[in-house]
Symmetry: C4
Amino acid sequence: MTDSRAEQSADTPWRRKLHTIVFEADTPAGRWFDAVLLALIVVSLVVVMLETVPSMPEPWRRGLRAAEWALTGVFSLEYLLRLVIVRRPLVYAGSFFGLVDLLAILPTWVSLIFPGAQALLAVRVLRLLRIFRVFKLARYLSEARVIGDALRASSRKIAVFLFTVSTVVVVVGALMYLIEGPANGFTSIPVSMYWAVVTLTTVGYGDISPATGLGQAVASLVMILGYGIIAVPTGIVTAELANAGRKLETQHINTQMCAHCGADDHRSDSKFCRHCGAALH
Amino acid sequence: MTDSRAEQSADTPWRRKLHTIVFEADTPAGRWFDAVLLALIVVSLVVVMLETVPSMPEPWRRGLRAAEWALTGVFSLEYLLRLVIVRRPLVYAGSFFGLVDLLAILPTWVSLIFPGAQALLAVRVLRLLRIFRVFKLARYLSEARVIGDALRASSRKIAVFLFTVSTVVVVVGALMYLIEGPANGFTSIPVSMYWAVVTLTTVGYGDISPATGLGQAVASLVMILGYGIIAVPTGIVTAELANAGRKLETQHINTQMCAHCGADDHRSDSKFCRHCGAALH
Amino acid sequence: MTDSRAEQSADTPWRRKLHTIVFEADTPAGRWFDAVLLALIVVSLVVVMLETVPSMPEPWRRGLRAAEWALTGVFSLEYLLRLVIVRRPLVYAGSFFGLVDLLAILPTWVSLIFPGAQALLAVRVLRLLRIFRVFKLARYLSEARVIGDALRASSRKIAVFLFTVSTVVVVVGALMYLIEGPANGFTSIPVSMYWAVVTLTTVGYGDISPATGLGQAVASLVMILGYGIIAVPTGIVTAELANAGRKLETQHINTQMCAHCGADDHRSDSKFCRHCGAALH
Amino acid sequence: MTDSRAEQSADTPWRRKLHTIVFEADTPAGRWFDAVLLALIVVSLVVVMLETVPSMPEPWRRGLRAAEWALTGVFSLEYLLRLVIVRRPLVYAGSFFGLVDLLAILPTWVSLIFPGAQALLAVRVLRLLRIFRVFKLARYLSEARVIGDALRASSRKIAVFLFTVSTVVVVVGALMYLIEGPANGFTSIPVSMYWAVVTLTTVGYGDISPATGLGQAVASLVMILGYGIIAVPTGIVTAELANAGRKLETQHINTQMCAHCGADDHRSDSKFCRHCGAALH
């Protein structure tokens, strides 16, 4: 949206040229630019991750830190370039990709003042969403839209479901706090609620687990409940996705209509009307 | 039900006026009353939770206790007010919301005699169900009804499923008690059954886990069984929800109504009314 | 099957009378007999479970043992009675319920020689299947048949799925044994395969977990794989159940056929043919 | 493919005869050859597994090692035989089964130089895929194809899903590393990402688990998110499988064939052929 509007109003030739390279992926140069950028993002993600590994030897660590500063420099220049090229820099800066581009460089600069902020650089992973533009993955985007539509269509059912889960978590959390008590690891109601979430979602770390007979009995009931509850969101999303698939299918079939008798609902490879026998176009 | 009947028979003007404020959410005053009430309920829930956190400093704790008493006072007054306003107090007191309103204040008073009962105040979360009335979330309620209908329609299948799971839990529990024995944490058949539930539901705390080779082999079989079992309730609920969606869809398509006898709910490819035989358009 | 055949050939009146009481649940006496039996089975199950609890005080334990012997005596008499009443005792003794009835009393007698065999009494839970006959839960049985049919219809898909899972378990188990080794708990390939099952089914006890970086990376891939794999049996059973539901629905619709034009597929409440307008019966 | 081509060009009679025995399972001799081979593969897998069990007594271990060498000798001879019989040995050696056959013997020979490589023999499990040929399990293969088709049809949706999961894992991993830190087990971002995968997939080992209040709150959100995320692949595969089932069903119903032009695959309520317009019976 922002891109195309900015593109149309780009007035000087060099700005227009740079714009097609930096913001688009339709020309060879633009595709190269984005491919190199994606590679650099992946490299920078790996660098950020490796930097936190404690067993890393000191010389390697120094090299990683240098690489991080170099990459942050490149990304900062790229961000400034984008601001210069675009005609309405504020619109770009406020857009989703603009904010992500800024958040991808900010933590390194912030770490000059507050050490340790580098871990926030993991937000760079969001920059990888550009991948969809580079490989022209329009089909993948349409798939994402089908999933997104299914989730949106069932958002109210999911809200009811989340409300139910929250209620169960609060009540079960309080109950187990009373039954097990601080001696068995249920040190407070919030901790007890954390245990309830861990149990209901069948994650089951085991850092907190019931030790009394009554507590184990209640926990068993909660688990079987959680077992049933997991069926609900799965059912909702599945029904919605199956529905979307059926609609798509129906649309493929329902386009022909007999000119003679008006019957529709023909198969897409039918040549004659299945009601009056007249030829279909 | 109780509310509307009580409303109709409310005879004095001040009682009628208070009734619309306290029991309904259709007037601005009534909506304000319920919004404030919901906020107080959420605050009181947070207060109850924080009070149990052991690392809470003493001055804060004293403040929280004061807040709890204040909120309990407000809720007690509200409960009495509801009893006074409603013409048939016993019908209200025996209704679902009446009982929840009482249970939401009782634990604090009980804690004067038995300390520690405050944790039961978490039952206040049920009062949040009023949220559906305040925001007129009729649509959300209809979504909840769809889920509820799907669960009810498959209740017999779920009963068969629960019976099967119970049988497996008892048999596997006894078997593992024999194989592993008290030395490996399977101290009794009930504890062994608790382990079976933890395993079948894929929660897997790890507080009890098989240590012998035979026990691990049986446990592996139980897990793969549980893997298959989880498919059954999901399948039941999904099929039911998909069914509900299809029925809804079918109803939307069948908008034809016979001009002669007024019958509707025809198949979309019907040519004649299925009740009186008149031609459909 | 066995019961009804035996019933027809029961020749003496007292045998016929006892047969209707002991084997059937259609007369008040028969229903009483089965209800008392079910209650005794539940009591005996609870007794067997409680007997294994180590914290049980000695006097209670002695009472439980007495109760177990009393109940075993009752069940033994009942088993002998069934053998006497039925005309073909061997057919009954070889039937499913006959074997269950025998297995329900055998462990107690065996425990005279081999102590500890009592835990096997949990097999008594299978006797509870009689519950379906007592409450005439024919409808529940038909629900169980729907689930059973769905599982049987997808048995080949499930076999393919289990074969795939087994292959993954063996390969992943051997791989993790090589990567992690005995030092990190993967003491042998069978133990490693047990870990693979625990992980793939998302149970995740945590009694064995990867400690090396490479092991954690491989484990992460296995988990995401397991995540995808869990979708397959759920999808299979759901599709089958949805199918069964659709067929059932279709059968309710498809019974009428127009005597005039032969059109079928009418709604069950249609009175006139939707193709030619002739009256339906 | 490779087999049949090679078979046609096998010129000498003994080579042709051996080919039908070794490569095919249509003659009694060929079926016997494959059945014995499968049994040997299963035995060799068990041998490889048992050899790694540390509690195995030394004499047994020596026997297992001898058995492994004997089996490897047999498999090596079989591999050479296949190379000799087939007319284009390189095509066979490069085919899927050819590579598997080689990988099934290589580790034992390699273990002469690098001890410990025997565990790689678990790759022999892939040789069991021959089972499909022996038992002529064409129907099972078609079931596998239905599952495979469903997965392939939804591969783009699954790619979008995996991309989403990866992004969540990186962001959540970095966030939890910041919140919990090395003191609570989150020693680096890669380890934190491993924790995120363990949590999102609801495996939940508990080897790493959040200890701070904020960490537990974020973990709770991640779990409920994972709970919702698990619904997506299940929904995708289920919808696809249900779709496949519906298509199959439709094909089964459309058994009509036009007497005039021979076209089939008509809708069940069609009256005229959709290809030539002739009346259908």
